[in-house]
């Protein structure tokens, strides 16, 4: 009769011991997690510091002229990034003007108009296209869009506007307009996928309420669905903008690598990212420093746009739940 009691005692102390152990001797595990997290944090600090450190001589030497200077000449300078900043913002703006209406409309069509069976296929097609490497979009722009631009689109735009601004100038294909169009195609899957997700969480009751009050389907979409998904759609647009601002290789392939303030949409140009890509390899001395300063500008611009986008999409999803 006494043995079972001892057994229980033994196992009880055993469990107590184990609990004590799990509370104390698991420290190595906790430190491993914390240490890895801190290590990666340190890598990021190092990343920011390395760009800042390389850019510092240029920032000290040229100061605000780096941002406001109108001429960018690799090698001897001057290093003024105004044309690059202008082209970065302009190409992104063109991309958004094209991709946002088409993207949001496609998301609405995908959710409310397309038959269920097609919807799944179209959805996964769009997500797969978001995974296509950017160099492929660049290749497509270079060999498919440039011939179409020079033979069809540019003459057409010049003819209907009488060759006036912003459709003036030589029709060579390589241009901020082409870069904007390629970017639009690249960010389209992102915008469609994210707006589809944020529109899908609009409560059903709102839609049914609208319909039961006698609103037509179109009215429900424009006056109920879009307003209630507004924040999330803004987030989707900001994410698309962030991608367009930082896109490098596809833009470098089609923009013409010509750092100038564009005088029309047909002008060739160069963005912050494309200039780093095309000039960093041969750069030495002050040019390297000035290119790092471009990298710093790009980092600040994209980090703020992306931070804004995250806040918006997060608020949209948690607000709807």
């Amino acid at each position: 009769m006494s043995t079972p009691e001892t057994d229980t005692d033994v196992s009880r102390t055993d469990v107590a011991e184990r609990i004590r152990l799990s509370a104390t001797s698991d420290r190595p595990y906790q430190w491993l997690l914390r240490g890895t997290a801190l290590f990666f944090g340190a890598v990021i600090v190092l990343f920011v510091w390395s760009v800042l450190h390389t850019a510092w001589p240029a920032i000290r030497a040229f100061g605000f002229h780096l941002i406001t200077g109108k001429t960018w000449a690799a090698g001897a300078g001057p290093y003024g990034a105004l044309p690059l900043i202008t082209d970065t913002l302009l190409t992104t703006l063109i991309a958004l003007i094209i991709a946002v209406p088409i993207g949001i409309s496609s998301a609405l069509a995908l959710l409310f108009l397309i038959p269920q069976k097609v919807r799944a296929a179209a959805s996964s097609l769009i997500e797969l296209l978001a995974a296509v490497p950017s160099v492929v979009y660049g290749l497509w722009g270079l060999f498919y869009l440039i011939p179409w631009f020079t033979k069809t689109l540019q003459p057409f735009l010049a003819r209907i506007t009488g060759g006036s601004w912003p459709f003036s100038g030589a029709q060579v294909g390589f241009s901020v307009l082409l870069a904007g169009v390629v970017l639009a195609v690249m960010i389209l899957p992102t915008i469609v996928a994210i707006s589809r997700d944020v529109i899908a969480v609009v409560p059903r009751e709102l839609i049914e309420g609208g319909l039961s009050l006698g609103a037509t389907r179109g009215q429900v979409l424009t006056r109920v669905v879009l307003p209630s998904a507004r924040t999330g759609i803004l987030g989707a647009i900001a994410l698309g903008a962030g991608r367009a601002l930082g896109e490098t290789i596809a833009v470098a392939m089609v923009i013409g690598s010509n750092p100038q303030i564009p005088h029309s949409l047909f002008s060739s140009g160069a963005t912050l990212a494309s200039t780093i890509a095309t000039q960093f390899g041969e750069a030495t001395g002050s040019t390297t420093n000035a290119l790092a300063a471009l990298a710093l500008m790009l980092m600040i611009i994209t980090a703020s746009v992306n931070a804004g986008a995250r806040v918006l999409t997060k608020r949209a999803v948690s607000g709807a739940l």
Binding site: S22, L108, V132, L139, Q219, A273, A277
Partner: protein, 308 residues
């Protein structure tokens, strides 16, 4: 009670309702028409969105298949000359370079991202929240900037371009993407499972290893494969740091070749044969990326089904 008392004064709400109903039925024809037109515009936009995307796929298949052959996939490139302009050889070492660089980058990034994901899923401290914000921002960081980083930290000290610098750039690029996917996957594991493990007396490291990671495996695999697919397609950071190579390069301390970079270099080549081959390189790259993307979906879908 007289009849006059029964005649109620006109009810403003009822009058308003009658007015609304009258206007709704008057305008229903016009409103339906506008609605139909709007829905048609949406459908047209959807088709317009598919046109360029379809064109990209069509171009890849049409031009890519024309330049791909079995020797193209497994032989080394040769430098064309003015006399032998079509002698461009194959892309075997570029396939190898892409697999080695992104494979080694993943080898470093995956364990690190797994631990960071565990840390973020278990901790709500101020440091964890800060790290979470940084990781969010890093997932949207233009990849060219990591090329600049790898250049300063690997290429400059080693006095030369190398596959290692590419591994560093892609590794740092992959960690935030995988860590985020892992954190989401870990948070999706029911807390009852975790508490059951702890209540049985297992240490939290044992619970992570034996309970949480297996339960979150579909999400982890999806995250890893998608990050790998994205890293393989990256061109900009490799352009700055890996140099070139026209031979098999198994040593990451030397210059290497990669499919994405080769696509870019061939696209600007002076030889028409290389420009045409750029499509073959691109199709090879897209095929590998698509195998990973589609594979990740299939694997996680199957694992989720089996668990039910």
């Amino acid at each position: 009670m007289s009849l006059a008392q029964l005649e109620l004064p006109p009810d403003p709400i009822l009058e308003r309702r009658a007015e609304i109903q009258r206007r709704a039925s008057q305008t229903i024809g016009r409103r339906t028409l506008v609605s139909k037109a709007f829905l048609a515009v949406l459908l047209v936009a959807f088709v317009v969105a598919l046109v360029p995307l379809g064109s990209v796929i069509f171009a890849l298949l049409q031009k890519g298949l024309a330049s791909i052959s079995w020797p193209f996939l497994h032989t080394l490139p040769t430098q064309p000359s003015l006399i032998a302009q079509n002698a461009i050889g194959g892309i075997g070492n570029a396939i190898e370079g892409t697999l080695v660089i992104s494979g080694l980058a993943a080898l470093v990034a995956v364990p690190m991202a797994l631990l960071i994901g565990l840390y973020l899923a278990e901790s709500q401290s101020r440091i964890a929240n800060f790290l979470r914000a940084i990781i969010e921002i890093m997932t949207g960081m233009p990849s060219i900037l990591l090329g600049v980083f790898a250049y300063e930290f690997v290429v400059v000290p080693m006095k030369g371009a190398s596959g290692l610098a590419g591994i560093v750039a892609l590794g740092v690029l992959m960690v935030p993407v995988i860590a985020k996917a892992c954190e989401l996957a870990f948070r999706g594991v029911p807390s009852t499972l975790r508490e059951a493990g702890l209540a049985l007396g297992a240490r939290s490291s044992r619970v992570s290893r034996g309970v949480i990671i297996p339960a979150a495996l579909p999400g982890i695999i999806t995250g890893v494969l998608l990050a790998l697919a994205r890293a393989m397609g990256e061109t900009a950071p490799l352009l700055l740091v890996i140099g070139t190579s026209i031979s098999w390069a198994w040593n990451p301390l030397h210059g290497m070749s990669a499919l994405s970079l080769l696509t870019y270099n061939y696209s600007g080549s002076q030889y028409p044969s290389q420009r045409a081959a750029a499509w073959g390189v691109a199709l090879t790259l897209v095929t590998i990326v698509m195998i990973l993307s589609v594979g990740s979906r299939l694997i996680s879908a199957r694992m989720r089904k089996e668990r039910r």
